[in-house]
Amino acid sequence: MHPFAFTRAVDVQDALRTASATPAAKFIAGGTNLVDLMKETVERPAHLIDITHLPFKSIDATASGGLRIGALVTNATLANDERVLARYPLLANAILAGASPQLRNAATTGGNLLQRTRCYYFYDVGTPCNKRRPGQGCGALHGQNRIHAILGTSEHCIATHPSDMCVALAALEAQVHVIGPKGERTIAFADFHRLPGDRPDLDTTLAPGELVTAVELPAEGFAANHSYLKLRDRLSYAFALVSVAAALRLDGSQIAAARIALGGVAHKPWRVEAAEQQLIGATPGADAFDGAARTLLAGARGFGHNDFKIELARRAITRALLQAAAGAPQSIIDKRIG
């Protein structure tokens, strides 16, 4: 790890002031990803600002019937919150499908949004990576790319976003509240993460010095018909090859609303509105769901080792939607796929 200075911030203004005075600084909360990347010298901040004393630790009801989750609420606290379990079980299941209990006890809501890709080439400073250093080249494009993206890639980067939680937040249409040198703003979840394009070094649309303060869930949680289906190389404690957050609102025998977000396939949680729109008014079933899956995966492209993800994703989307429609979400304990 490279040496760094350290500031323990006592309040938001203290944190923002320190950040604007030291542009090479990074905020640290749970540190489960940042400290690891610093050990690998992938991240080399000259300064860390400890934000764990800031008042972002509560989960509060909003006037519009949703929940506002403080950025410092741990993944474990969020996944086990009674209101989340009852009203947003899709979110609880996605969180509990990721990492390990120890990591979830430390990792925070804000930090989960900001975790970086697990692309081997990004982690290995001995190989070229445009995300680490733009212009250096991409080792994955013609290298070992089994875990890489099939959608929204660029010639510069085919990395995936590693989060499970974010896939559920995308499906639920959460909002991200941030504060920075220019004040507060709210970012729609779909606009928070970005595709790599020619700037794969930028994972999000956060401006320099901006700090995530909370994630807000809208009132609708799709608690009756949802499923988070995660497929990976081992049953627990592994990143997704493909994951699907599926949520439906049923009106009698017809679909009134649908949300589908994919993990493990792109630089951000992947949603296609047309795929959701085409399900409205349809009767739940394999035919309708396969049609939506094909729309979601339009333009998908493999890079050799990850070609299998296209067919895997198509089948996983259909399966997750069938589970959601049946009110039988994928168990996060018994991983057999029913």
Binding site: M1, P3, F4, A5, F6, T7, R8, A9, V10, D14, T18, I28, G31, T32, V35, D36, M38, K39, E40, A46, L48, D50, T52, H53, A76, A99, S100, P101, Q102, L103, N105, A106, S236, Y237, I332, I333, D334
Partner: protein, 179 residues
Amino acid sequence: MSAHLQPNRDTWMPPDAHVHIGADEAFPIKLIVNGIEHQLDVMPWVSLLDALRERLGLTGTKKGCDHGQCGACTVLIDGVRVNSCLRLALMHDGAHITTIEGLAHDKTLHALQRALIEHDAFQCGYCTPGQLCSAVGLLNEKPHPSEPEIREWMSGNLCRCGAYPNIVAAIQSVSEERR
């Protein structure tokens, strides 16, 4: 103490006070480990794992991968299990930490320690301190997990000897005893 380890303050500060520490400065912190208070000066990058092992001589907590992937470094901070390799020591100023050395009381082993021995739940023993602290954390979180739940919620602790079936049985037996 070498020159670069000189603390930049003489006295310990409350853990909620604003502090700024230069990259070449050590900072005085307090850790309450297994009920005993320790004062030590740490550089900003010292992990909790290294502070426990290298500074306090508590080598029961193991460094396996040092990247949060194996669970050998699991300790309890204020009763909650975490990977100590990914924690910066100075962010836990004033915290109560339980390590493997703190599970037994006098000469009486913790129920989970006894159960691991009775169930032959280790071979080389390297992952065992982490398995034990993680199991204590698990039973704090959920006193009566089912067998599949134990498997899932102990998945952050790898055992390369493959003692998993016996580890699961040991944890289950303690959970049953406590019913």
